[in-house]
């Protein structure tokens, strides 16, 4: 199997991948779905910003203020290009996906008729959402009297869209779904969901947290109204996320937080709001983080997102093959690499994921264990938690092999092959 990326060269860009843990074990980092590692190029951009240009943005006329503003707004241009936004003002910087999704849910709920949520309206999500695309909708539907419903999951970890016309109805105001599941790895059929949402005139919100880092993302082709993603999963720093929105929609929606930066004119009685995107960016923004995200999308674009996706597809197919040959291992999620991202959840016999993760860690292998902020998925599959290995542009087949060897070691450590000790 050959990768379109020169992975050994890519790995040299990521200083942390040189690390050893537990005295002498080379780090095998299989937790990129939680957060990705950062390349030197991103670290340098942040360092440069603080060493040479640090200043607050938009308000100053001195040299540093102008440089900082140019860097911050330059990052917006880069992100807009990365997702093929029609206009740079459609890119709103947030803290992370969670804030972007809360922003979306709240301003939709607050909006005036016919956009806002009212008693009797419906919001549709899916059973495979991350908690950050469940809880905000629970909060706003409870507040407004709207109802929340969702698509279920099939046994092989796909969305059950068999009754799509009965789930998305004339009363549906918003459909919000995850493009790539962080726990199951499923890539969802956006086109079909968007088409049905359009038929009934519902807004479409997409959680692209696990899509933007891994697949070419074109928000115009996607056809959604609002799209959220988070910088730290795509080689950027923590503390920066993005909400992209269609310009005409963002213009109609009310602001989220009030404060500096988001106003046009303030009197003691009332205020008018700034133009897009600043209307949604109250307060001093995460400037260095935005600059870091700009460097991250430059880095990804230079590699080519199609190549990144192809590399991960290759690793995922290889990992699915090897993992499913481990006695007692059950993949929770699609069992083939088709329409699938690079996060693979599994259970190993009756061993608790916590124990699996602990023994793997001792071997230098970093996986995530737990419900991955998607507890309803664990309930759906009748498991308390899963072990999840997730891959990225720097992952190698040798790391998959290390994982498989590690799992055999885990089984020996606890006693019996594939089952209860």
């Amino acid at each position: 199997m050959s990768s379109p990326l020169d992975v050994e060269r890519v790995r040299k860009d990521f200083p942390v991948l040189e690390r050893v843990v537990h005295d002498d074990k080379p780090l095998v980092y299989l937790d990129s779905a939680a957060t990705s590692q950062k390349p030197r190029q991103v670290l340098d951009a942040i360092d440069d910003y603080y060493c040479l240009h640090n200043s607050n943005v938009h308000r100053g006329i001195h040299t540093l203020a102008e440089e900082a503003t140019a860097l911050y707004e330059g990052a917006r241009d880069k992100v807009a290009g990365f997702i093929n936004a029609a206009d740079r003002s459609e890119v709103v910087f947030t803290k992370n996906s969670t804030e972007a999704l809360n922003l979306a849910a709240n301003v939709i709920a607050w909006a005036e008729s016919p956009l806002g949520l009212r008693d009797g309206d419906e919001v549709v999500i899916t059973e495979m959402e991350h908690h950050s695309n469940i809880v905000p909708w629970q909060m706003v539907t409870r507040r407004t009297g709207a109802t929340l419903s969702w698509f279920g999951i099939t046994d092989d970890g796909r969305l059950d869209l068999s009754d799509i016309d009965r789930v998305i109805t004339e009363r549906t105001k918003v459909v919000s779904f995850v493009l790539v599941s962080n726990i199951l790895g499923t890539v969802n059929p956006a086109e079909q969901i968007v088409r049905r949402a359009r038929e009934v005139g519902a807004l479409v919100v997409v959680d692209a947290s696990q899509a933007a880092p891994h697949l070419p993302l074109d928000v115009q082709a996607l056809g959604a109204d609002l799209v959220a993603f988070t910088g730290h999963k795509m080689c950027g720093p923590t503390g920066i996320g993005v909400l992209w929105g269609r310009r005409d929609l963002l213009e109609e929606l009310p602001p989220f937080m009030g404060g500096g930066e988001m106003i046009e004119m303030v009197t003691m009685g009332s205020s008018t709001y700034a133009d897009l995107p600043h209307k949604f960016e109250a307060g001093t923004p995460p400037i260095a983080q935005a600059v870091g995200l700009g460097a991250a999308v430059d880095y990804l674009s230079a590699l080519g997102m199609d190549k990144v996706a192809e590399h991960e597809h290759m690793i995922t197919a290889y990992a699915l093959d090897r993992l499913q040959a481990v006695d007692g291992l059950r993949v929770i999620g699609p069992r083939t690499a088709q329409d699938r991202g690079a996060a693979i959840s599994f259970v190993l016999g009756d061993l608790h994921p916590h124990d699996v993760g602990q023994v793997l860690d001792e071997l230098g292998i970093a996986v995530r264990v737990g419900h991955h902020c998607a507890r309803p998925v664990c309930q759906r599959f009748g498991v308390p938690a899963t072990t999840r290995a997730s891959f990225y542009l720097y992952s190698t087949t040798a790391e998959v092999d290390a994982l498989v060897d590690g799992l055999e070691h885990v089984k020996r450590f606890f006693g019996a092959p594939g089952g209860r000790p």
């Binding site: 602990q358 023994v359 001792e362 664990c378 606890f414």
Partner: protein, 158 residues
């Protein structure tokens, strides 16, 4: 390997063959505790001896649990330490176990103090080095403490 300091044989034995497992009648209080980070769960019942003693005997602790080896073994070891003991003695074991878990791996400093009270439970000293796992080891103990407090209240009201 450091790992063996956490997964000591005694712990793995209790994991494989838990003591006092299963939910039994009669009981004075039942609680359900979860560890939200890893999905460990325990349902636990406490039965205190009848009578109006200030310091009743812990007659039975029964439970059903779902979780990692550390949490399953810990609740099993705990039942050995509290069932048949007076409430005061059981509470001393609880306090000693908490002390041990708070040592961040430096258990030597408290060993003299806790060793006699804790018996098999000193095997959990290695867990105190792993911050992520301390909650697993404490799950059953916290459930017992909660259930016992409720059982005492129930008795007082009766």
């Amino acid at each position: 390997m450091k790992l063996e300091s956490m997964y000591q044989e005694i712990i793995l034995d209790h994991y494989r063959r838990p003591h006092h497992k299963g939910l039994r009648e009669p009981f004075d209080a039942e609680v359900h505790h979860v560890n939200p980070t890893c999905g460990d769960e325990v349902t636990l019942r406490v039965r205190l001896a009848d009578g109006c003693s200030e310091n009743p005997t812990v007659q039975d602790v029964s439970y059903d649990s779902l979780g990692c080896s550390i949490s399953m073994a810990s609740v099993s070891v705990m039942t050995d330490l509290v069932v048949g003991k007076s409430l005061d003695e059981a509470t001393r074991a609880y306090d000693a176990f908490l002390t041990l878990m708070r040592t961040k791996g430096d258990s030597a400093s408290v060993m003299d103090e806790v060793e006699d009270v804790l018996e098999d439970a000193v095997a959990f000293e290695g867990v105190s080095k792993y911050p992520a796992r301390i909650k697993c080891a404490l799950l059953g103990w916290m459930a017992w403490k909660d259930a016992t407090a409720r059982a005492v209240t129930t008795k007082e009201m009766a």
